[in-house]
Amino acid sequence: MTFSEGTLSVLIYGSLIWCGLSALGLAAMLIRDGKSGEIW
């Protein structure tokens, strides 16, 4: 039994999109923290 092409696609594209969203999320959180004076 082997991993299908579909599974591999989901893993690869899913991880790359997840990384992209993580970077955007971190930047958005920093802006939000900055606005409320809670960076540190």
């Binding site: 591999l8 990384c19 993580s22 923290d33 960076i39």
Partner: protein
């Protein structure tokens, strides 16, 4: 391989190294101006917000191993290899509720050593310090060595120079800026790493489709697609437990739990784990594409840079250089800061100079950081090639501490006999099987033995721990 071909012109490598060195040191000095006391220096004033908290949890866990070893895992163990590496994220995710508990139980705590001393007494504390300092120094040395080796392989920068520069830069900004500098630079480094991996991943997919990768693997290396690949499935358990043990015990993570603002710790570790989770797959799949792209891989540990440089040329080589440099710096600085705080708080303050002033402790922490840097440099200089093995050797030590920490945080029945026995017995049996069978079972066995002993000691315990004893005044 490193001697045969480099990916980047050495002059470009040196320019990049110089630019980032100036940036990190400048930021370290700038952020260090906020630090007035040991608490500011060691814990960034205990007021770190969610964005920086999340980023530093993720960035510290992204070592050069994540960006370089994940592709090697994929090349050797296939899809399960990438997934196995990803399980290390559960160390951060499962630490999230513990971080909240740590913050509640020890509002004035500084280190994971404080927990062992107050919870289990001096004998358990001493064993913990030996285990954790051995592990931390090994990790630090392996990261600095990896820095020298990778900079030489990527840009032809001499090993001794590359290792010395990256170590010196991290020592300088950690000394000057303390944890604030470490966490601040971690944020920038995490963004660079994540964006770099994401962009290079999509760029590779412009040159080869998933369909072609799958077809090539099916034809040439079907084992890498095997759902029942035994060695890879074993790797999942080993990686998972190693990750849990490392995060649960090491002061790198405890110091962050103490440093994060009230209410932030659990969210930051949970989100940090989720940010980290896809990175081994995003970085690792590139290795699976090597066959479909026709890239020869003479050395498995350099498969990531080989594929990226082959497909993306000079731009790809610059990208991988920057990602690797940031991965190294984000881990080395954290280890320097957390280990120097452990030595300063647990050995200097609690054992040698209990009446030290806040200012004295801050200066001591800075000198300890410098001393650690010099010690690491001296160990790294001869370029011993076996440190990866030593790091695996630390696996049983790390695994044996999981249960004393978890039960000690949640169960009043957890006790000194249980903790000491779990660490000594678990580590001893684990190390025996490390030599008798192999590294891949050592952590698992150490953790299992430690668990049985701890649970037995808890079941037989008559006394109940008073949680207020952990609220020791600073």
């Amino acid at each position: 391989m490193a001697e045969d071909k480099v990916f980047l012109d050495p002059t470009v490598g040196w320019i990049l190294l110089a630019l980032f060195s100036v940036l990190w040191i400048g930021l370290g000095v700038y952020w260090g101006r906020r630090n007035k006391s040991f608490e500011d220096h060691a814990l960034a004033g205990r007021n770190v917000g969610l964005a920086l908290g999340t980023a530093t949890a993720a960035a510290t866990w992204i070592t050069s191993n994540t960006t370089m070893l994940a592709p090697q895992f994929a090349l050797q163990l296939g899809i399960w290899g990438m997934l196995a590496y990803s399980t290390a994220a559960f160390g951060l995710i499962l630490f999230a509720p513990m971080a909240k508990r740590i913050r509640q139980l020890m509002p004035h705590g500084y280190t994971s050593g404080d927990f062992f001393r107050l919870r289990y007494g001096r004998a358990a504390w001493a064993i913990f310090l030996v285990f954790t300092l051995f592990y931390s120094l090994t990790w630090l040395v392996s990261m600095a060595m990896a820095g020298g080796i990778l900079l030489e392989a990527l840009a032809g920068i001499d090993y001794a120079w590359g290792m010395s520069v990256i170590l010196a830069v991290c020592v300088i900004y950690t000394m000057r800026g303390g944890l604030a500098a470490v966490i601040g630079t971690d944020f920038i480094q995490s963004l660079i790493i994540i964006v770099g991996i994401c962009v290079t991943g999509f760029a590779v997919l412009q040159n080869v489709s998933v369909s072609e990768i799958h077809a090539n693997l099916t034809a040439t290396k079907p084992a890498l697609l095997d759902v029942l690949f035994p060695a890879a499935i074993m790797a999942i358990f080993n990686n998972l437990l190693f990750g849990l043990g490392e995060v649960f015990h090491n002061n790198v993570w405890w110091s962050r739990a103490f440093a994060f603002r009230e209410g932030v710790a659990s969210k930051a570790f949970l989100m940090g784990g989720l940010v980290w989770l896809p990175i081994p797959i995003a970085a690792g799949f590139i290795a699976l594409a090597s066959g479909a792209l026709g890239v020869a891989v003479p050395s498995a540990d350099m498969v990531g840079p080989l594929v990226i440089a082959e497909v993306l040329g000079g731009v790809g080589a610059v990208a991988i250089f920057i990602v690797v440099f940031c991965s190294l710096a984000s881990s080395i600085d954290s280890l320097l800061a957390a280990t120097s705080d452990l030595v300063t708080e647990d050995i200097w303050r609690r054992l040698l100079h209990p009446s030290s002033s806040a200012d004295n402790l801050k200066r001591t922490a800075q000198w300890v950081t410098l001393g650690l840097g010099v010690l690491t440099w001296l160990i790294c200089l001869p370029r011993i090639g076996t440190l990866a093995t030593v790091l695996f050797f630390a696996g049983p030590l790390v695994g044996s501490m999981i249960w004393p920490i978890v039960t000690g945080l949640y169960w009043r029945s957890a006790n000194t006999v249980g903790a000491i026995g779990a660490m000594v017995l678990g580590a001893s049996v684990g190390l025996y099987f490390y030599f008798a069978i192999g590294f891949y079972v050592a952590t698992l066995i150490a953790t299992a033995v430690s668990m049985v002993w701890t649970l037995g000691a808890c079941a037989l315990a008559k006394g109940r721990f008073d949680w207020t004893r952990l609220k020791e005044a600073a």
